[in-house]
């Protein structure tokens, strides 16, 4: 009896001791069972392991100012198709310990960490499971608030390029400072910030290439002003000279005789008032690829990227709007295609249409117009064989252009709709280094109807007219949500315009999801269209496949 009492007491003590601490657990599992049908065949390696799954469990323990955590990953029996094959087995993905005291302004991390300097053009390490990206840095990071206006970060380590302890050859180190000038000036009605970063990569390959400097550095400075209505910001980035890695006939090789610096200019401007907003982003860059292992340059799995260079185009919602997706062109290419970088910009205008107007109707509506234009830099060949840009504002080959109009309107308490029209030009030859250029138009209409406050049906219809690639497509989705827990859908996109009648395929899928609290389970069966899947301007190729998909996420 006494021992029972003791056990209870110790359990209580233990639990209440832990009660001051906090444990967070997150679980995600994505599985696919690949099958073949009469139209879509799998390659041999895929057939060997038709069932594949990517699984993640992340556990973090917080107590006062201390945190420890880890992420374990299991690719069972193998990673989903077209993920980096270095993601294999069950192993640690990340592990860290941290002391984080906000009041004192001190934050120290040892182990794997994620970080971003400025817009990411100099450094960004992050995780995106859908894309198979985890380029956490394994090492140490020290953040300190020197003054209420001034924050400084110092970091160093090697980058994760496979599982948690598959690390880059190159060492990455950096420093970042952010100064809030308005805080020093004690101004309240606007904000002015200055930032500067330094990022170095040390990768010694002098054994093989004696002339190549082991150190490559990137410096960035930026200034940002945010007023009540107007905001404007700019960033300048410089990368020191490094030999060029280029791809020829599928093989990445180093060209020590071709060596060049890189740079980037970024300007953001915005104007906002209640109900109206507009913004413009302009960017020019040359030779800005930066990897923790030179030989990873341009790899298909996005492994070892030190900086983040997103395509500055709108990320559209609907399937047929995402067949031709622009990817930023930072690289210096010579062997397959002469390229030095890109120049261009994008704009967006948001307008809220007032109630009781012709376009606004009884409930008000929204009008959004956006567009972008991107081109290569005009180049010339110097006597030593290197490429040079001819002038700062000289536009070269057109890579991409788009313009879109979106009108969202609520018609009644039960019905709302979206109309969207997109016109685009995609230079597939230059962007993907293959062939073809495409002009396309996409029209989308979506309606959402409520039966009851939490029961609804959504229908979306899409059509794409394209003069290249696989030509015209038509598509639709019907989704039924009987209550706030369940959702069921059928979806199909049909490539009826394909020149080859045998390739006029339907990419159909049916599925459903169940949500309760923080848990979500989704299952579907169908065909997936092969091609680029892009999230946040970074893309991954997915194979064309038929099969079952099961996704689960939860946390507690």
């Amino acid at each position: 009896m006494k021992s029972k009492y003791l056990v209870t007491v110790s359990l209580v003590v233990l639990l209440s001791y832990h009660g001051k601490a906090q444990v967070n657990v997150g679980i995600e599992s994505n599985s696919q069972y690949y099958t073949e049908d009469d139209k879509i065949k799998l390659d041999e390696s895929a057939k060997e392991d038709p069932f594949r799954s990517n699984n993640y469990i992340k556990i973090d323990y917080f107590k006062n100012y201390f945190e420890v955590g880890l992420q374990a990953e299991g690719y069972l029996p193998k990673a989903l198709l077209n993920y980096n094959p270095d993601l294999e087995g069950i192993n640690l993905g990340t592990v860290y310990a941290r002391y984080n005291n906000y009041d004192k302004g001190v934050d120290i991390t040892l182990g794997h960490f994620y970080e971003q300097f400025g817009s990411g053009l100099a450094l960004r390490s992050w995780e995106d499971r859908a894309l198979g990206i985890n380029n956490a840095i394994f090492g140490g990071r020290f953040k300190v608030r020197l003054h209420p206006s001034t924050n400084v970060t110092l970091l160093g380590g090697k980058q994760r390029i496979g599982m948690g302890f598959d690390l880059s050859d190159g060492v990455v180190y950096g420093a970042n400072a952010e100064v809030d000038i308005t805080n020093i000036l004690e101004k309240e009605d606007y904000m002015l910030k200055f930032g500067a970063s330094f990022v170095g990569r040390h990768e010694d390959i002098t054994k093989e290439y004696p002339t190549i400097d082991p150190n490559t550095n990137v410096m960035s400075t930026r200034l940002e002003y945010v007023g009540e209505k107007l905001s404007i910001g700019g960033e300048y980035v410089y990368k020191t000279e490094d030999a060029i890695m280029d791809n020829f006939a599928g093989v990445n090789s180093l060209y020590p005789e071709r060596s060049r610096y890189g740079n980037a200019f970024l300007v953001n401007m915005g104007y906002t008032t209640e109900g109206f907003a507009a913004n413009v982003n302009l960017r020019r860059m040359e030779n800005m690829t930066f990897y923790s292992n030179r030989k990873l340059n341009g790899n298909a799995y996005n492994a070892g990227m030190i900086n983040y260079i997103p395509a500055l185009t709108k990320q559209y919602d609907f399937a047929l709007q995402n067949i031709f997706v622009y990817q930023a062109q930072p690289k210096y290419g010579y062997m397959t295609m002469q390229k030095l970088g890109e120049i261009g910009g994008q704009f967006d205008v948001f307008y809220e249409l007032k109630k009781e107007t012709f376009l606004g109707g009884e409930y008000g509506a929204n009008l959004i117009v956006n567009g972008s234009y991107w081109a290569g830099l005009k180049t010339e060949e110097k006597p030593d064989g290197n490429l040079n840009s001819t002038g700062f504002l000289d536009f070269g080959t057109k890579y991409y252009r788009d313009i879109a109009v979106e009108y969202r309107r609520k018609w009644s308490d039960k019905f709302s709709s979206i109309f969207m029209y997109l016109n685009q030009y995609y230079n597939k030859e230059y962007v993907e280094e293959t062939y073809d250029e495409i002009h396309s138009d996409v029209a989308v209409v979506e309606g959402l109807y409520f039966f009851k406050p939490t029961s609804s049906v959504r229908l979306e219809l899409q059509h794409q007219w394209a003069d290249g690639d696989r030509k015209n497509w038509a598509g639709g989705t019907l989704e039924f949500m009987p209550n706030s827990k369940f959702s069921f859908f059928v979806h199909d996109i049909y490539n009826y315009g394909n020149d080859d009648p045998d390739m006029q395929l339907h990419y159909y899928s049916v599925g459903g999801s169940f949500t309760k609290g923080a848990t979500r389970i989704a299952a579907s069966y169908g065909r997936q269209r092969g091609g680029l899947i892009c999230v946040g301007g970074v893309c991954r190729m997915v194979p064309e496949a038929t099969g079952f998909t099961l996704n689960l996420t939860t946390n507690f």
Binding site: T8, V12, L15, S16, H18, G19, K20, Q22, N24, G26, K58, F62, Y102, Y114, E115, Q116, L121, R124, W126, E127, D180, M191, K193, V226, N268, G270, T272, G275, A277, A278, N279, Y308, P310, K314, Q315, Y316, D317, D348, V349, F350, N366, I368, F450, K452, P453, T454, S455, S456, S484, K485, S487, S513, T515, G517, A518, T519, R520, G536, T553, N555
Partner: protein, 162 residues
């Protein structure tokens, strides 16, 4: 009260502390000023944390639907909605125009490198949490039309006003 009951009560109390609260993560608001998210643990009003992105259609639907009833929610419960954008530098410039262009009255913060999203183990957006006095009393993953009614029921339940 017997010792046993006392022990059980104590254990239950310590279990309650396991419920998630907001971590010590500092993000920027739309004017570039630092906001430490853990400060919302000290709010004596209910707080809704809603993860979203400009490129996420369901997120825009959810926040637009809540915006229509937000002034009523605030009047009756004093709730504050913190809309956490996970837009990264590709789409970040679109956040402020989206918010102002739709006249959203929320507190908007930018989780540009997904620090808060990761700390709370949020899988996909949209993801919504209701907090009261530093404790998560309800969370919901994904958007189903009409879920705003359920969120409001949970807010009222949390403050004992249902």
């Amino acid at each position: 009260m017997s010792k046993f009951q006392f022990c059980v009560a104590f254990m239950l109390m310590s279990l309650v502390n396991y419920a998630q609260k907001l971590p010590n993560v500092t993000l920027k608001d739309l004017d570039g000023r630092a906001v430490n998210i853990s400060k919302f643990n000290n709010s004596d009003k209910p707080v809704v944390i809603s993860f979203w992105a400009t490129w996420c259609g369901p997120c825009l639907k959810e926040l637009t639907a809540i915006n229509e009833v937000y002034s009523t929610w605030q009047k009756e419960t004093g709730v504050e909605l913190v809309a956490v954008s996970i837009d990264d530098s590709r789409t970040k410039a679109r956040v402020k125009p989206q918010v102002k262009g739709k006249s959203w009255k929320y507190t908007v913060v930018l989780d540009e490198n997904q620090e808060l999203k990761r700390a709370l183990n949020v899988g996909n957006v949209p993801y919504t949490m209701v907090l009261y006095k530093g404790k998560v009393v309800y969370s919901h993953s994904s958007y189903t039309p009409g879920i705003e009614n359920e969120i409001y029921t949970q807010i009222k339940k949390a403050i004992g006003k249902s």
